[in-house]
Amino acid sequence: MTFTAPVLSYQLLSPILIVLGGALIGVLVEAFVSRKLRPIAQLSLTIGTLLLALFQVFTIRNSQSTTAAMGSVVIDGPAVLMQASILVISILAAFLIADTENFVPVAAAVPGSEDERRAIQSGQTLTEVFPLTLFAVSGMMIFPIATDLITLFVALEMLSLPLYLMAGLSRRRRLLSQESALKYFLLGAFSSAFFLFGAAYLYGYSGSVSFEGIRIAIAGGSGNDIILLIGIAFLSVGLLFKVGAVPFHAWSPDVYQGAPTPVTAFMAAATKVAAFGAMLRIFYTAFANAQWQWRPLLIVISIITMLFGSLVAIAQRDVKRMLAYSSIAHAGFLLAGVIALNKAGLEGSIFYLFAYGVATVGAFGVVTLVRDSTGEVTDLNRWAGLGKRSPWVATIFAGFLLAFAGIPLTSGFIGKFAIFSAAYEGGSKSIVIAGVLSSAIAAFFYIRVIVLMFFTDPQEDGTSVVIPSILTRATVVICFVVTIALGVFPSPLLDSIKTLAIFIR
C-alpha cells in the first residue's frame, strides 16, 4: 500500500493561513508581552495580519488552479471577492475594537465583584479580543469557499465559537452581555445540530459530502426525494440561523444589543458576508438542480423576513435593537439574491453584502461615539437633538440610515436595484413587490431616527458625543465615503464583480 501526500496548494490557502498564524502569534503575545505594551502590539499584529492576508488574496485572484486542500475548498472569483470583503470589513471593525473602553478588563471577573472593581481601577485592558477576532475571521474566510459539508461545518464552528465569547465581553451592562452570549451560544449549538442532521441526510441521499457529489446525485434523480428534502431543509435551518432570517432570528436583537458595540459591528457585517457567501455557493452549485423543491420555501422565508424585520423595527426604542431588526430585513433582501439563481443574482448579492457590511460597521461605529457619563447611550429618545450638538456625527449617521433605506446616491440603492432586478429576472416578481413594500415600511423608522436627531430639541441630561479616537474616526469616515462613493460611482466595483463572479464547481 502506497501513501500519497495530500496536495494542499499552500499558495491558494495562504490568506487563511496568514490569518490563523496571526491569531496564534496573538495568543503568544498575550502570554509573553508586558501588559502595558499588549494593546498596541495586538492591534498592530491584527491589522498587519489582515492587511497581509488582503494583499495575498489580491495576488491569487487570477490564479490558474482553483481547488486547494484536496478539493475541499475552491478559490474561484466569488471566493476571492468574499474573502476580500470579509477582510476589508474586519480591518474596519478592528479599528473599532481597538477602542478597549468598550470591553470588560477581565472577562473572568464576576459582574459587580471586587475583582472586577480592582481590575477597572488598575486600568487593565482586555486584549484577548484581538486573537479571537482573527480566529473568527479565519473561519469566515473558509465558510464561503468550502466545497464539502465537513469543511463547511468546521468553518461554521470556527467562526461561531470566538463570536460567542466576544459577545459576552461588554464593560457596561455586563449581565445583559453575558446573557446574550449564552443565548447566542445555546441557539447556535442548536442550529449546528440541525446543520449536522441535514448534512447526514444529504450524505445518505447522495453518498457524498462534496457539493459536486450532491449536485450529480440530484441531477441523476435516482435517490429518495424525501431524504433530499429533509437534508436541504435542516441544512438551511443552520444557515438561515446564521444570517438571522425569520423564524430563526430570535437571537439577533438580544445579541446585537448585549454584545460590545464594536463586536456587534464586526459580527453583523462580516458574519453576514460569510454566511451568505456559503449559502450562495451551496444553493447555486449543490442544490441548483433541486430548485423546484427549495425555491418556493425560500421565497416565503424571504418575504416574511423582510416584512417582519421592517415592521418590528418600527416599535424599537433602542438604536442597537433597531439596527438588529433592520439587519433582519436586509437578510430578507439578500435571500432574494439567493433565490434569483442567476449570474445577476450572484453579482448583486456580492455588491450588496459589501455595501451593507461597510455601512453597518460605520453605523455601529457612530453608536460607540454617543455616550453619557455612564457609557454608551443606545436609548433612541436620548439621541434627540444630536444634529444640533454634533452636526457631523448626525449627518454621517443619517447617511448610513439613508443607505439602509436604499435612497438613491447611496450604496444601498444600487445594491437593492441589483438584487431586485436579478430576482425579477429570475422570475420571482412577488419578492420584488414585497421588497418594495417593506422598503417603504423600513423607510419610516430610518426617517424617524433622522427626525429625532435633527428636528427634535435636545434633552437636558448630558448625552454627548465623545471625541472619537483617530481609529474610530477613520473607520466612520471611510465607511461613509465608501457608502456614498458606491452610490455615485459603483461602476469600478460592479465591473470587477462582473468579471470575477462565476462559481467554479
Partner: protein
Amino acid sequence: MNYLTTLMLLPILGAVLIALLPKSQGLFAKYAALVTTILVAVLTVVMAREFIRDSTDLQFVESYDWIKSFGIKFAVGIDGIALVLILMSVILTPIVILAGWNESEGGRWSVKTFYILILILEAMVIGVFAASDVFLFYVFFEAMLIPVYFLIGGYGSGARTAAAVKFLIYSLFGGLLMLASIIGLYVISGQQGDHTFDLQTLSTLQISSTTQNLLFLGFFIAFAIKAPLFPFHTWLPDAAAAGTPGTSVLLLGILDKVGTFGMIRYCLTLFPDATKTFTPVIIVFSVISILYGAFLAIGARDIKRLIAYTSISHFGFITLGIFAMTTQGHSGATLYMFNHGFSTAALFLVAGWMISRRGSSTISDFGGLQRITPVMAWSFFLAGMSSLALPGLSSFVSEFLVLVGTYTRYPAAAIIATFGIVLAALYILIPVQKALHGPTSPGNENLSDLNLREKIAIAPVMAAIVFLGFYPAPLLNVINPIAQHTIAQLGFTDPVPTNGGK
C-alpha cells in the same frame, strides 16, 4: 456648449462655495445664492434662444456612461415641454430667494444651510426635467425629496416635523412603486436586447398588456402622489402650510410639476396601450380633483392651506388636459404647468408677507388691507385673479385650452370641470373680500406695505402673468410641435369640431 450639465453644475458650485463660508457669513450666503440662481436663469434663457422650435427631437443632448454594467447612462436632453418647465423653475428660484430674504433666519439650522439646500434642489430639478435615461430620472426624482424634507422640517413653522415626515413617506412610497416598474422595464429590455434605460429604446419595447398595465400603474401612482391627484393629495396641505412661503412655492410651483411632467414624458411614451386603458378612470379622478380641491379651498380658514387646495384643483385641470388626448389639451396642460407656477408663486409670496406682518395665517384675522397696505393688497388681488383664470391673465389661456381640448373628446368631463371655474371665483373672492376689503379690523392698523426688495421680487411674476395673458405665443410656439407629436405618436387624431345643427 454643454448647456444642461453646466446648468446643473452651477448651483452645485454655488452650494459648495456657500458651504465653505463660516457660519457667521449669513448675508454673504444669501447674495451668493441669489447671484448663482440669477446666473443659472440667464444661462437658461441663452440656451432657450438656441432651441429649435419646430423640432420634436430631444435637443442639447449629452450622454455619458455612468453605470455600465446596468446600461445606465448620464443622459440628458430636452424637448419643448422640458424647456418650458426648466425655464419656469430657474426663473422662480431667484425670485423665491429674493422674496423670502429673511425666512431662512428662524430655522433650526444656520442661514447658509438653507441656501445650500435650495441650490442643491435647483440642480436636481433641472436634472429631473432634463434626464432622458429613466434610471437617472428616478435618481433625481427620489434624491430631491431630501433637501425639501430638510427645508420643511428645518425652516418651516407649526407642525413642520410631522408635515415633513408625511411628505417624505408619501413620496418615498410612490417612488418605490415606480422603482418596481423601472426594474420591470429593465428586465424586459434585457430580454429584448441589451439592458438599457434609454427612454427612446424603452418606448419601442413589446410589452404584454397585463405587464404594461402594472408597470403603468407603478409610474402613474408615483406621479399622482407627486402632482397630487385625488385621492393621493392629503400630504400637500400639511406640507404647504408648514413650509416657509418660499419652500411652498418651490414645492407646489416646481416640484409638483414633476408629477404631471412625468405623466407626459414617461406614462404616455412608455405605455401607450395602458394609457388608453386607464384614461377614463384618470379623467374621472381629475374631475373629482378639480371639484373636491375647490370645495376644500372654499372651506379653508388658513390662507396657506387655501392656496394648497386651489392647487389640487388646478392639478386636476392639468391631468385632465394631458389625458384628454388632444393637441389643445396637451398644449393647454403644459402651458397650465408654467402659468400655475407663476400664479401660485405670486399668491404664496404675497400671502407669506401678509402672514409674517400680521403674525397669523388665519384669513379672518385680516381685514381692510386695501387701505393700510395698498400695494400688497393689489398684488394679492391680481395673483388671486390669475388663480381664478380671469381673461386677460395667463391662466385663462391655459384653462381655456384644456377645456376646449377636453370637450372635443370628453364633453361630459369638460362640462363638469367648468363648474370648477365657478367655484374658483368663490374660493378666491371670499378671502379677497374678507382680507382686503371692508373696514380695517383690529390688529391690522399698523401693518407696513411692501418694501422695495419685495416689490422687485413680485414685479417679474406679475409682469409674466399679465404679459402671457395677452400674448402666450412665445411659449405655445415651443409647446405645440411636441404636443402634436405626442398625440400623433399615441395614434390619436384631433376630433374635428362639428357644426351642431348642420
